[in-house]
């Protein structure tokens, strides 16, 4: 069964569900056992389709797929073109929202993901928006190639987040144009580790509001002073430390 333009196509030419339609819930990605046609009818049988997924917007939205098949789906991602809200809205209950049982609490964005394929300025918007489940995030392969990128709400309202690692020694943040609400309501954060060639611009004070006063921020040794005096970072100056002091 060939894969054409991210659509699964049968030998009779019938196009099954477009697997880049990540808002669809009908595709059983956990086993590859069956697919639904676009009209909703089931195509029965076992298919060993070697599919990949590139448009990851909403891929794990609301967490159901993460509970069912996180590892397998993550392995299917290749050259992602968008991570918009990919891990957004992971909680259970109503009112007093709680972590989503069974969903991963430690997320590593695989280094195999080539983020130079992100083709939209909002491709990093709300990556972990309203995720009440995740506790640690390793986003050390973070890179921004699209000018005027909007990374706002990337960690908006992550109520159990404790540690974030973002960027590496080659990461440049010069393409950031909007970082509003970056860590908004991340009240449990203990450590933010930011590596990179330059300073991640905080385009609004909301980016760090609600952070607890003792949250430690580690930045490259050569940029410590720049961060400590940077706009919207400076109120945290006494908790900004050199990466060389980071204990891991």
């Amino acid at each position: 069964m060939p894969l054409k333009n991210n659509k699964v196509v049968l030998s009779d030419g019938t196009t099954l569900m477009d697997i880049t339609d990540t808002t669809a819930t009908e595709v059983d990605v956990s086993t590859g056992k069956y697919f639904y046609k676009a009209d909703g009818s089931l195509v029965e049988g076992t298919y060993n389709v070697d599919w990949t997924i590139s448009n990851c917007a909403y891929l794990f939205y609301q967490g159901h797929r993460a509970v069912e098949a996180y590892t397998e789906i993550m392995a299917r991602v290749k050259n992602p073109t968008s991570l918009y809200n990919i891990f957004g809205t992971w909680y259970s209950g109503s009112g007093n929202l709680q972590p989503l049982p069974g969903a991963p609490t430690n997320i590593v964005i695989p280094h195999e993901w080539d983020l130079s394929y992100i083709n939209d300025a909002t491709g990093f918007f709300g990556v972990f928006n309203n995720n009440y489940t995740v506790e640690t995030v390793d986003f050390t392969n973070f890179s921004l190639v699209i000018p005027n990128s909007n990374i706002s709400s990337m960690f908006y309202n992550c109520r159990n987040l404790r540690k974030v690692l973002i960027g590496n020694e080659n990461t440049s943040y010069q393409n950031v144009s909007n970082s509003q609400y970056l860590f908004y309501y991340c009240e449990t954060l203990d450590e933010i580790v930011i590596n990179g060639l330059d300073v991640l611009s905080l385009t609004a004070s909301s980016a760090l509001s609600s952070l607890k006063s003792t949250c430690k921020i580690y930045v490259p040794d050569t940029l410590v002073y720049t961060y400590r005096t940077a706009s919207n970072w400076s109120t945290r100056a006494s908790y900004i430390f050199p990466l060389s002091e980071y204990g891991g």
Binding site: Q180, D198, S205, S234
Partner: protein, 58 residues
Amino acid sequence: MIVKEQYLDGFIRTYSDAGFYISGGSPEGLYVDAIDPISEQREYTETDIPIEEAETYD
């Protein structure tokens, strides 16, 4: 119009009272609002770019 107000001890918060981005800061760029150490004496100019409402999803 640019508004400057004292923020905590030793800081200045700057924003536009007309809902526009302000330009300046460190790193230099467009800001919704900016909190800077008074000692840095940063100046901002008001742009004509309206601040869009940020999206969030439940």
